[in-house]
């Protein structure tokens, strides 16, 4: 990997523009100057099984029809849909592929009819964790995933993504204990090793089938931390460090051949964009339908697609929720695009307002500040391996958070202050320089009923 980052100037680190844009076969462009909605939707509370399948299909038909109609009415220039399957739809690949085909056909027809550029991101589940301990590289779940990857193109997908979970079986407990070495082992060793294995297969499947390998997300790691912090279960400053630590893991998808856009819930995508120049999708205030966050505005400052994360097909006063969500995203994007059309200075001004409205209020927002992202990214790329990069990311994040707290650049709650000290100590004493040393330290602590290290190519 190059020792320099792709975007080194703050003036070119902005929403809607990426040095390595992605263009689909049907002409949808990501990163060439405009931000547009990526809408995701899901079922209301209901069972998904053979008996309910006709209802499931009816829901997806209604959701895609509503979203396309409203997007056309609002003159959205481009529309991307993400179909993130429910676990049952990856466990039974034919189900997921059927819905994907349905959505793709509707999008293609809409583009032919109206000229609105459309694309479909297909995101099957990582179902390998249905085995406990997870079986990562063989078995029925892995075979089902391979089948889904291979048939994504035939089922109409333009992009293939996943929220992979390698290492999550250890990360959850490490998060609950605010165990920084445990998190680094889960993300920087297990997560990165699994990403390399998984994305190699995903990229190969995409190349065989004319699908663009898009990107991953550390949702199960860093977003879990963010939710726990939001519920006052772990310190926010710890969650902020986990976010930065997750960047090298998500980066592995790109080094294996992913082209972007990174998944919407990958807030660490801003680091991926800075380092590799690939476009990213993000979600913030208009994803409050799916989860709360302290980064509603800042998340849009650097996005290329703007997403709602997911919304259930339930009735609201104005209409069904997916349609409402599409409208909210459409208006968010309009504003960003108008500023960009006015002038580069106007776009940067809007970006800075988006940043300044969140960054001073929470450490998790502060580590997404474009200036902080560029400084940390420059350090991350000095690492030779994903593990080294993860360790550097942790060190750089703690350093930035310490400096930011000293300068009162963001608000650090009094009861969080001691956690910065504890993380500094953990980094110094318990997070070794090399992956080999980290494995030697952590492997004896791993409960084999929870995690089989051999599934990550580690001999035990």
């Amino acid at each position: 990997m190059s020792k320099t980052i792709e975007i080194s100037s703050l003036d070119t680190f902005i929403y809607g523009r990426s040095p390595k844009p992605v263009i689909t076969d049907r002409g949808l462009e990501i990163g060439t100057g405009i931000v547009f909605p990526e809408v995701n939707f899901t079922l209301p509370a209901m069972n998904c099984n053979a008996q309910t399948w006709p209802k499931v299909v009816a829901h997806y038909t209604e959701m895609i029809d509503d979203v396309i109609r409203r997007s056309i009415e609002l003159e959205v220039p481009q529309l991307q849909i993400e179909f993130e399957t429910l676990p049952d739809m990856t466990l039974n690949p034919a189900w997921g592929l059927e819905i994907n085909r349905l959505l793709a056909d509707k999008l293609i027809a809409a583009q032919e009819r109206t000229g609105m550029k459309t694309a479909l991101r297909f995101t099957p589940n990582d179902i390998r964790e249905f085995s406990r301990p997870p079986i990562m590289r063989s078995g029925i779940h892995w075979e089902n995933m391979l089948e889904v990857f291979d048939k994504a193109g035939e089922a109409g997908a333009d992009f293939l993504s996943i929220e992979s979970t390698g290492g999550k079986e250890l990360c959850d407990e490490a998060l609950m204990n605010a165990d920084l070495p445990g998190v680094v082992f889960a993300l920087g060793v297990l997560g990165c090793r699994d990403m390399e294995f998984l994305w190699k297969h995903m990229v190969e499947a995409c190349n065989r089938n004319g699908v663009i390998p898009a990107g991953d997300s550390a949702c199960g790691f860093a977003n879990t931390a963010m939710v726990l912090a939001d519920k006052q279960m772990i310190p926010r400053v710890f969650s902020a460090v986990v976010r930065v630590a997750s960047a090298p893991r998500t980066l592995v998808a790109v080094t294996q051949g992913a082209k972007g856009p990174c998944k919407d819930c990958a807030y660490e995508g801003v680091y991926v964009k800075a380092i590799t120049g690939t476009p990213i999708s993000l979600e913030g205030k208009s994803a409050a339908c799916a989860h709360l966050s302290p980064i509603g505005n800042i998340a849009s400052a650097l996005c290329d697609c703007w997403s709602n994360e997911s919304v259930q097909n339930v009735q609201l006063l104005s209409g069904k929720a997916p349609e409402v969500s599409a409208e909210q995203l459409a208006y968010d994007c309009r504003l960003m695009n108008v500023a960009a059309r006015r002038s580069p200075e106007d776009a940067l001004r809007l970006r800075d307002w988006l940043v300044e409205s969140d960054a001073p209020l929470d450490p998790q927002a502060y580590v997404l500040h474009p200036e902080v992202v560029l400084r940390i990214s420059e350090k991350i790329v000095q690492g030779e391996t994903p593990y080294e990069q993860t360790r550097i990311a942790v060190a750089a994040a703690i350093d930035e958070l310490r400096r930011g707290a000293d300068e009162k650049a963001y608000k650090l709650a009094e009861r969080e202050e001691s956690w910065l000290d504890m993380m500094e100590m953990a980094l110094e004493d318990d997070i070794p320089e090399t992956e080999e040393e980290m494995i030697a330290q952590q492997a004896p602590l791993v409960d084999s009923a929870k995690c089989d290290l051999r599934e990550y190519g580690i001999s035990v």
Binding site: M46, N47, L86, F130, R132, M176, N177, A178, L228, K231
Partner: protein, 207 residues
């Protein structure tokens, strides 16, 4: 029951070694084992749970306290068994079928155990048969957890199953998308929005 302040504070501060030492010393001095448990150890865990509810401590601090509590339990448990002491009740907990999320479930299990109940952790992706087996093994309360809106409806299947059987097992539910209204709608015996509240729900249904 008289509270041993030193033991109470050692648990709250998560001082595992101190807890073991204090418990052993108290026993050596002839203290009643049940009094140690009920008078100091369980109240300490309640206090840490209350502090968490008041946003005064984080989960890692609660877990440290729980591990300190365990150091004491390792000493008193065999003595309690010999004395014929029974846990306050037997509780089974599991994430429902199709759902693999277990952070919340694990936290609830830890808090309920810390409150003096025997806890059977059934794990994740639990079908009706797993809950059935737990009830056959003496569970008086089963706790169902779900994070996904598409797995939440399985809670109703579990409730319906036990109702159809005429079972008197109490069913408590929780998880991000779950609400009191949903608990009422499916006929569950209770709902809790956080781990500490879950302990209160168990106490309530076992009265």
């Amino acid at each position: 029951m008289a509270r041993n302040e030193e033991l109470f504070n050692a648990i709250i501060k998560g001082k595992r070694k101190d807890v073991a030492t204090i418990v052993q010393a108290a026993l050596d001095d002839g203290a009643n084992v049940e009094e140690i448990l009920m008078g100091s150890m369980i109240p300490a865990m309640r206090e840490i749970g209350d502090r968490f509810s008041r946003n005064e401590v984080y989960v890692p601090e609660m877990l440290i306290a729980a591990r300190a509590m365990q150091a004491g339990l390792d000493i008193v448990d065999p003595l309690l068994a010999t004395a014929g002491h029974k846990a306050l009740g037997k509780v089974a907990i599991g994430t429902v079928k199709g759902d693999l999320h277990d952070i919340g479930k694990n936290l609830v299990a830890m808090m309920v155990k810390g409150a003096g109940y025997e806890v059977m952790d059934l794990g994740v992706d639990c079908d009706v048969a797993k809950y059935d087996e737990a009830v056959e093994n003496g569970a008086q309360v089963i706790m169902l957890s779900a994070l996904l809106t598409t797995t939440m409806p399985y809670m109703k299947e579990v409730v319906d199953h036990f109702k159809a059987k005429g079972s008197d097992v109490k069913i408590l539910i929780g998880g991000a998308p779950v609400t009191q209204e949903y608990a009422d709608e499916i006929g569950a015996d209770g709902y809790s929005s956080d781990a500490n509240q879950a302990v209160g729900s168990v106490e309530k249904v076992l009265v």
